[in-house]
C-alpha cells in the first residue's frame, strides 16, 4: 500500500467520485463542501450520467480547479455503471464518494484518510453521517447499507453491479460485500458528512412502497427491461418474463386497425395491452408522472408501445391523430387523465376506472373523477357493481354514453399455461389454501381458526411479508405449523405454483351494505387482481358468504360457480373435504379460466371503441 512517503508532490491521495443525474439544484452545494475540505490532495471525477437539466453549465465554473474532472456519459446508465466509469479512471489509491446531492463537512476526507494508516490496513473506512434532516449516527444507519458519502476504500478491481445486472437500493449487494474479504471495515465514529434527505433520493425512488420499479423507470427514463430487487421488495425479472413479447416482430397494422392512445397507467398485468397490438391495432402511450410502484407506465418492458413525450404531448397527439384515447386506470392517474380530457382536441375518449371512488373522495379528486365519469365519450366500469354504484353516485352518468364492464387489469393469456402441478393435499391428505398477496381480512386469529380445523395457509410475496411482519409473528403463535411463507411468484409460474393448492383466498370481510349499493364500500365493489391469478391456476375462490349483500367478487363466484362461500371455518373445512364438490368446482374454474384473460375480451373492447368512435361522429 502507498505510505505517506511514496506520494508524489501534488498527486491526489484520494479520488472522489461524484455520480450525478438531474441534480443541478444540489450539485453546487456538494462541490462547495468538497472545496472546503481541510485535506487538499484530492481529485474529483464528476460522472454526469446523462443529465438533461443543465448540470454541465452549473459546474462549468468549478472546472477551473485542475483537481476536478468532468465526464459526461451520452445517456443515463445508472449508478453502478457510472461509478465503474469513475473507478476505472481514478488515479489515487483511495476512493471516496460524494453523490451530488450530499455534503461533506470540512474535515471529512482528512478524518477518513487517517484511518488507513492503521494496521491491518482497512479495506474500507466510514464516517458517521447526518441523515433524515437532523438525525445523525456515528456509524451505519440502522436499516440501511453504508451510504456512499460516508465511505472511503482502497482502490480495487472490484466493480459495482450495473443496471443490466440488477437494480437495487442495497449498496452492500451492489459493491461493499465484495470489499469485505480485502480487510476490515473501520468506523471513524465522527459525523463528518450528510446524506441529504429529500424525496428524489435514489433509494427512495427505488424502494417500495413509495418507490418501486415504475417510479424508477419514470425517473431515469429507462428504455430497457429491468432486473429489480430492492431490500424490501419482490424480485422482478422483466428481461426473462417479457422476452417472448419484446423479441417477437411487431404485428403489421390491420387494414381497419385503430390507433389507440393509452393515457394514464396500466397497473397490474400491463402486458395485456399487447392483445390489442396482436390484433393489428397500433398502441401509443402517454403516461402519468410520479406513479406508485404498481402503476405501470412506459417505456413498457414488453415493447410494441410508442411513447409520446410528456412535454408538449398536445403536438404529438395532433401528429399521430389517434382514433381513440383510452384513459386508465386507478386513482393516481385521475389528475393527469383529467387534464388530458380537458385539453383533448376532440378525439373519442374512453375512461376505464378501477380503484376507486372512495379514495378519490378522500384525496379531493372527486370533482375531477365526476368530470371523467360524465364527460368521457365512453365509460368502462371494472365490475357491474361499480357501474351500479356510479349510477347512484352520479345519476344520469351511466346511461349517457356507451359503456362496458371489464375488469381493469386482467392478465395476458400466455400466463395461463397447462402446467398444473399435483395437489399437495393429494399427497399429504391435509388441506392447503393459498393467499397470493396481502392477507386482507385474514387476521392472525383467523389463521388460528384455520389451523384449528386443519387448514394450511400458504402466504406468497416477500414484499408483503416484510410489511406484515408483526402479523406473521402473531399468526405463527396461534397457528404453528399451518402458516407457510413463500417468495413472490411471477406470472410465468402462476399455474405450476398455485395449482398445488386446494383453493385460494380473496379478501375476507363481512359486508355491511345489506343489499343497498349506496352503502357499498371498496371491498364490495372491487374485483381483486388476484381473482385472475387464482382462476388461471384452476383454484376455487374463498370468501365469506355475505348473504343479502352486494359483493362483486361474491356475485361473480356464485353466478359462475367459481368458489366456496362459507360462514365459519368448520363449514369451509367440510366443503374442502367434499371431493365431489371440489372436483366439480375445479372443473368449472378450469373450463372458464380463459375468460379471465384480457385477450378473451380484446375484440369486445375494440368493438366498444368502434362504437364510441361512431357515436362521437
Amino acid at each position: 500500500m502507498d505510505g505517506e512517503g511514496q506520494i508524489e508532490e501534488g498527486a491526489p491521495r484520494v479520488s472522489v467520485l461524484m455520480p450525478t443525474f438531474n441534480q443541478v439544484a444540489f450539485i453546487r452545494r456538494a462541490l462547495e463542501s468538497l472545496l472546503a475540505q481541510t485535506l487538499a490532495a484530492w481529485e474529483l471525477l464528476i460522472v454526469d450520467d446523462g443529465a438533461t437539466d443543465g448540470t454541465r453549465a452549473a459546474i462549468e465554473p468549478f472546472l477551473a480547479d485542475e483537481r476536478i474532472r468532468y465526464e459526461r456519459l451520452p445517456e443515463n446508465v445508472g449508478l453502478g455503471a457510472a461509478l465503474n466509469h469513475g473507478l476505472a479512471r481514478a488515479r489515487a489509491s483511495l476512493i471516496a464518494y460524494l453523490p451530488s446531492d450530499d455534503l461533506f463537512y470540512p474535515e471529512h476526507l482528512a478524518s477518513l484518510i487517517a484511518h488507513f494508516a492503521a494496521e491491518p490496513t482497512p479495506a474500507l473506512a466510514y464516517s458517521g453521517v447526518r441523515h433524515t434532516y437532523n438525525r445523525a449516527v456515528t456509524g451505519q444507519i440502522e436499516g440501511y447499507p453504508l451510504q456512499l458519502a460516508q465511505v472511503m476504500h482502497r482502490r480495487t478491481d472490484d466493480r459495482w453491479l450495473e443496471r443490466g445486472e440488477l437494480v437495487t437500493d442495497d449498496l452492500e449487494r451492489m459493491f461493499w460485500a465484495q470489499l469485505r474479504p480485502h480487510g476490515p471495515f473501520v468506523g471513524t465514529a465522527r459525523v463528518t458528512c450528510e446524506w441529504v434527505d429529500h424525496p428524489d433520493q435514489r433509494h427512495k425512488i427505488i424502494r417500495e412502497p413509495l418507490g418501486g420499479i415504475n417510479p424508477y423507470r419514470a425517473r431515469y427514463g429507462v428504455q430497457t427491461p429491468l432486473r429489480f430487487h430492492t431490500s424490501v421488495g419482490n424480485r422482478i425479472d422483466e428481461v426473462e418474463q417479457y422476452r417472448r413479447f419484446r423479441e417477437r416482430p411487431a404485428t403489421p397494422p390491420a387494414e381497419d386497425g385503430l390507433k389507440i392512445l393509452l393515457v394514464g397507467e396500466l397497473a397490474y398485468n400491463a402486458e395485456r395491452v399487447l392483445a390489442l397490438e396482436e390484433r393489428g391495432h397500433t398502441l401509443y402511450g402517454l403516461w402519468m408522472q410520479e406513479p406508485y410502484w404498481f402503476n405501470t407506465v412506459g417505456p413498457v418492458p414488453f415493447g410494441h408501445v410508442e411513447d409520446l413525450p410528456r412535454t408538449d404531448w398536445r403536438t404529438a397527439v395532433r401528429r399521430i391523430a389517434p382514433d381513440i384515447i383510452y384513459g386508465l386506470l386507478n386513482w393516481q392517474a385521475v389528475p393527469f387523465v383529467h387534464q388530458v380530457l380537458l385539453d383533448n382536441p376532440g378525439i373519442p375518449f374512453v375512461w376505464h376506472f378501477k380503484e376507486g371512488p372512495f379514495i378519490c373522495l378522500e384525496k379531493g379528486y372527486w370533482p375531477r373523477l365526476v368530470d371523467l365519469q360524465t364527460r368521457a365519450d365512453g365509460q368502462i366500469y371494472s365490475s357491474p357493481e361499480a357501474r351500479d354504484w356510479f349510477a347512484t353516485a352520479i345519476p344520469g352518468a351511466v346511461d349517457a354514453v356507451p359503456s362496458l364492464v371489464l375488469d381493469g387489469d386482467l392478465p395476458k393469456r400466455e400466463w395461463f399455461t397447462d402446467r398444473r402441478s399435483a395437489r399437495l393435499s393429494a399427497s399429504d391428505g391435509q388441506l392447503h389454501t393459498v393467499v397470493p398477496g396481502r392477507p386482507i381480512g385474514l387476521h392472525p386469529w383467523t389463521v388460528g381458526e384455520l389451523a384449528d380445523v386443519g387448514i394450511h395457509l400458504h402466504f406468497y410475496g416477500d414484499f408483503t411479508q416484510g410489511v406484515w411482519r408483526g402479523w406473521i409473528e402473531k399468526a405463527n403463535r396461534v397457528a404453528e405449523g399451518y402458516l407457510h411463507l413463500h417468495p413472490n411468484v411471477d406470472q410465468p409460474r402462476w399455474v405450476e405454483e398455485f395449482s398445488r393448492y386446494d383453493a385460494g383466498w380473496l379478501h375476507l370481510f363481512r359486508s355491511e351494505n345489506a343489499g343497498d349499493v349506496r352503502r357499498a364500500n371498496w371491498d364490495d365493489l372491487n374485483y381483486p387482481a388476484r381473482i385472475a391469478t387464482l382462476i388461471g391456476a384452476g383454484l376455487p375462490l374463498l370468501q365469506y358468504e355475505n348473504a343479502g349483500a352486494i359483493v362483486a367478487a361474491q356475485n361473480l363466484a356464485r353466478s359462475r360457480k367459481l368458489g366456496l362461500l362459507f360462514n365459519d371455518m368448520g363449514q369451509l373445512r367440510d366443503q374442502l373435504r367434499d371431493e365431489v364438490l371440489m372436483g366439480r368446482l375445479r372443473d368449472s374454474v378450469w373450463s372458464q379460466r380463459h375468460e379471465f384473460t384480457f385477450d378473451h375480451h380484446a375484440d369486445r373492447l375494440v368493438a366498444f371503441f368502434r362504437d364510441v368512435i361512431a357515436t362521437k361522429r
Binding site: 463542501s33 470540512p106 370533482p367
Partner: protein
C-alpha cells in the same frame, strides 16, 4: 334578491334541509339518495348558499319534482345562516338534514319517522351513520353514547390532536330528524362565531330545550368524508382561517370570530378591529405592490405599506397551513385577486410596480406559477421557513429556481444569506439582496402600557413562554431552580397537556389564555424574561451543519421585543446561531447551560435591568413599520435594475 321556486301545495310530514355550496360534483348523489327513499312524504328545501359553481344547472332537472324547492342566496352567508333560512322555509312537522355531499340509505326517513312517531315524547331521532371511510356506528362517539346523549355532548372525549374529529360532536346533521319548532333554538351564524362546534352546539341546545333523543338502531346514512367538507376546512389538519375565508369568499370588511377546536383561535375584530377604520392614503409616488403567497405570522404588518402611501393587492396560496396567514383579510384595502383561471389577466390589468413574493415553503408553487406567467413585472422574493423543509418536500429545485429568477431576494438574517451562499456556492449580489425578518409585528402593538414586574412584588423569578415550550425540560429542574414559568395560549396548552400537567404539579407553572398582540406590553412586561427555543447546536460554527433551529428567528422574538423582555437562550458557545447573534447584537440574551445558572443570572437584578433596558431601547427594530421605507427603497432599486 334571492330567488325561490314555488312552494308545494300540501304540507309534507318531513322537511329535508339541504344547504349547499361548491358541491356540484356531489349534490346529485345526495338527491338520488333522497329520491330513493321508501318514505315519500317529504319536501326538500335546497338553500344554495351563493355557490359560484354550476350547482343551479345540475339541480335544474330535479326541480320538476314538485316536492323540491330551490332557494338561492345572492352571496355566501355560511352554514348556520343557510340552515336558519331553510328552517324558516320548512313546512313539515319534522326537519331532517341532507347536506349536499352526504347521503341517505333508502330506509332512512322511514325508520326515523317511525321511531319519532312511535313514542310521542321523543323530540329527536337519529340513524346510525358511516363516516370517515369505514368508520360507522350509532353516533360520532360510538355506541357508548346511545342513551346518554346529553351527557356525551356535555362531556366530550379529551382533545386528541390526531383524531379525525376534535369538536366533541355526537351527530352529523345527515343522521338527525327532529320536531320542527323549538323556540329559541337556532344555528349560530357566521357573524357570531365560526367553529366546528356549530353542530354540537345546536344539538346541545335542542336537548336542553327538552328534545328527548332516540336511536333507530340501524345505520341509515353516510356522512361523506372528503377533503373539502366544512368540518375539515374549519378544523381539519389542513384547515384553518385562511382556507376558510378563501373557500367561502369572505373578503375585506367581514370579520370572523374564529373558534375552531383544532388550530389557533382568533376573534378578528378583537385583534384587528383597530385597523377597521384606517384608510390608505396612496401617496403621489406610492407603489402598487402585489403580495403573492402567504404572510406567516403578524399579517397586519403589511398595513405599514398602506400607511406609507402604497397600494396593496394580494394573490394568495389556496391551502396555507392552519397557522399561516393568507388573505382575503378583513382589514386594510388589499385588492384580492382570486386564484382562478383568470388571475393572470387580472394581474396584468392591475399592473403592479412590483411583486412581493413571500414567505414560507408553502408559497413556492404559487410563486412558480407567477414566474411561469412571465408578467414582466419585477419580483422580490422574501424567504423564511425554510431550506430544510424544502429539501424534505422535494421543493429544493423549485426554491433555487425562485431564488435565481427573482429580481430581488430578502433573507431573514445574515446566517440564512450565508447558508444559501454556501449551498448554492454563489456570492449574493448586495444590490439585489436585502436582510429582514419575515413576519415582524406591526408597530402599533408596541405601546407604552408597561406593567410593574411581578418579581418586584413577591421576590420570585417570573418568566414567560408565549408559545410552544421547546426544550423546557425537565420542568422539575426549572421549578427546583425557583423559576416560575407563565405559559400562554389555549392552543399550546392543548398541544402539550403532559408538560403542562407536570409543570402545574410543581407549583411553578401558571397557565394563561392566549394573549392578543394588544396585550403584549400590558400583560407580558410583568415578567423578568421570556423563553426562546432551547436547543443544542452542533454546527461548530460551520453553517453547512446548521439546522433550522440555527437559522430561524422565531416569531415570538417580536413579542418579546414589544414587551421589553430579555430572551432566555441555551448557551452554545461554538455554534453559529441566528437568534443568538441577534441577542448579542442588542445585548438582550440570558445565555445559560443549566437552570441553576439561569436562575442565578435572573437573580442578578442589575444585569437583568440592563438587559431589559437594552430590549426596550432596541424594540422598534422589531417592528415591521421601522423597515418599510428601507424595504420599499430596495423594491425601487430592484425595479430600476429590472427596467434597465
Amino acid at each position: 334578491m334571492a330567488e325561490t321556486s314555488a312552494p308545494p301545495q300540501l304540507t309534507p310530514r318531513v322537511s329535508v334541509l339541504m344547504p349547499t355550496f361548491k358541491q356540484a360534483a356531489f349534490i346529485r348523489r345526495a338527491l338520488e339518495s333522497l329520491r330513493a327513499q321508501s318514505f315519500a312524504d317529504w319536501e326538500l328545501i335546497i338553500v344554495d348558499d351563493g355557490t359560484p359553481d354550476d350547482t343551479g344547472g345540475v339541480v335544474a332537472p330535479y326541480l320538476a319534482d314538485p316536492r323540491i324547492r330551490y332557494h338561492r342566496l345572492e352571496r355566501n352567508r355560511g352554514l348556520g345562516a343557510a340552515l336558519n333560512i331553510a328552517t324558516g322555509l320548512a313546512r313539515g312537522r319534522y326537519l331532517a338534514y341532507l347536506p349536499s355531499d352526504d347521503l341517505y340509505y333508502p330506509e332512512h326517513l322511514t325508520r326515523l319517522v317511525a321511531t319519532i312517531e312511535a313514542e310521542p315524547p321523543i323530540g329527536l331521532v337519529y340513524g346510525g351513520l358511516r363516516w370517515a371511510g369505514n368508520r360507522g356506528g350509532p353516533t360520532l362517539q360510538g355506541a357508548e353514547a346511545v342513551g346518554r346523549e346529553a351527557a356525551a355532548l356535555a362531556n366530550p372525549p379529551p382533545f386528541d390532536q390526531r383524531a379525525p374529529l376534535t369538536n366533541g360532536n355526537l351527530f352529523a346533521p345527515v343522521q338527525v330528524l327532529h320536531r320542527r319548532d323549538w323556540p329559541g333554538v337556532r344555528w349560530a351564524e357566521r357573524e357570531e362565531v365560526v367553529s366546528d362546534r356549530l353542530e354540537a352546539d345546536f344539538w346541545r341546545a335542542l336537548l336542553a330545550a327538552g328534545a328527548r333523543p332516540a336511536y333507530v338502531d340501524a345505520i341509515t346514512c353516510e356522512w361523506v368524508w372528503h377533503d373539502a367538507g366544512r368540518t375539515r376546512i374549519v378544523a381539519g389538519p389542513a384547515g384553518g382561517l385562511a382556507r376558510y375565508r378563501a373557500h367561502y369568499g369572505i373578503g375585506r370588511g367581514e370579520w370572523l370570530n374564529w373558534q375552531p377546536t383544532r388550530g389557533v383561535q382568533v376573534d378578528e375584530r378583537a385583534r384587528w378591529g383597530r385597523f377597521a377604520e384606517r384608510r390608505a392614503l396612496p401617496g403621489p409616488d406610492g407603489l402598487t405592490i402585489l403580495l403573492a403567497g402567504e404572510l406567516g405570522f403578524n399579517p397586519e404588518r403589511v398595513l405599514a405599506f398602506e400607511e406609507a402611501g402604497h397600494r396593496l393587492a394580494g394573490l394568495w396560496v389556496a391551502r396555507p397551513e392552519p397557522w399561516d396567514a393568507a388573505g382575503p383579510f378583513p382589514w386594510g384595502n388589499i385588492v384580492d385577486i382570486p386564484l382562478d383561471r383568470r388571475w393572470v389577466e387580472r394581474v396584468r390589468a392591475l399592473d403592479p410596480d412590483v411583486i412581493y413574493a413571500l414567505l414560507n415553503w408553502q408559497a413556492l408553487p404559487l410563486i412558480e406559477a407567477v414566474l411561469d406567467a412571465k408578467l414582466g413585472i419585477p419580483i422580490v422574493f422574501h424567504f423564511k421557513e425554510g431550506p430544510f423543509i424544502c429539501l424534505e418536500h422535494g421543493l429544493w429545485p423549485l426554491l433555487l429556481r425562485v431564488l435565481r429568477e427573482s429580481d430581488g431576494r430578502v433573507f431573514i438574517n445574515d446566517e440564512m444569506a450565508d447558508w444559501f451562499a454556501l449551498a448554492t456556492d454563489d456570492t449574493l449580489d448586495p444590490e439585489t439582496t436585502f436582510i429582514l425578518d419575515g413576519d415582524l409585528p406591526k408597530g402599533d402593538w408596541f405601546d407604552e402600557r408597561w406593567a410593574p414586574k411581578l418579581s418586584a412584588a413577591d421576590g420570585e423569578i417570573h418568566t414567560v413562554c408565549p408559545g410552544r415550550p421547546l426544550g423546557l425540560d425537565p420542568f422539575e429542574e426549572i421549578a427546583a431552580a425557583g423559576i416560575h414559568v407563565h405559559f400562554y395560549g389555549d392552543h399550546f396548552h392543548r398541544q402539550h397537556p403532559n408538560w403542562a400537567r407536570a409543570g402545574l404539579a410543581t407549583g411553578h407553572m401558571h397557565l394563561h389564555p392566549t394573549v392578543e398582540p394588544e396585550g403584549w406590553v400590558r400583560e407580558l412586561s410583568r415578567y423578568d424574561a421570556a423563553w426562546g427555543h432551547l436547543f443544542d447546536s452542533d454546527n461548530g460554527g460551520d453553517l453547512r451543519r446548521a439546522t433550522w433551529d440555527d437559522l430561524n428567528l422565531p416569531a415570538r422574538l417580536g413579542t418579546f421585543a414589544a414587551a421589553g423582555l430579555p430572551w432566555i437562550l441555551r448557551d452554545n458557545p461554538d455554534a453559529r446561531i441566528a437568534t443568538h447573534a441577534l441577542a448579542r447584537r442588542h445585548d438582550v440574551g440570558l445565555f445559560s447551560r443549566d437552570y441553576a445558572d439561569l436562575a442565578a443570572q435572573l437573580r442578578d437584578r442589575r444585569r437583568l435591568a440592563t438587559l431589559t433596558t437594552n430590549m426596550r431601547v432596541a424594540r422598534r427594530q422589531f417592528a415591521f413599520d421601522t423597515h418599510v421605507d428601507a424595504l420599499v427603497a430596495f423594491f425601487r432599486r430592484v425595479m430600476r435594475r429590472h427596467a434597465e
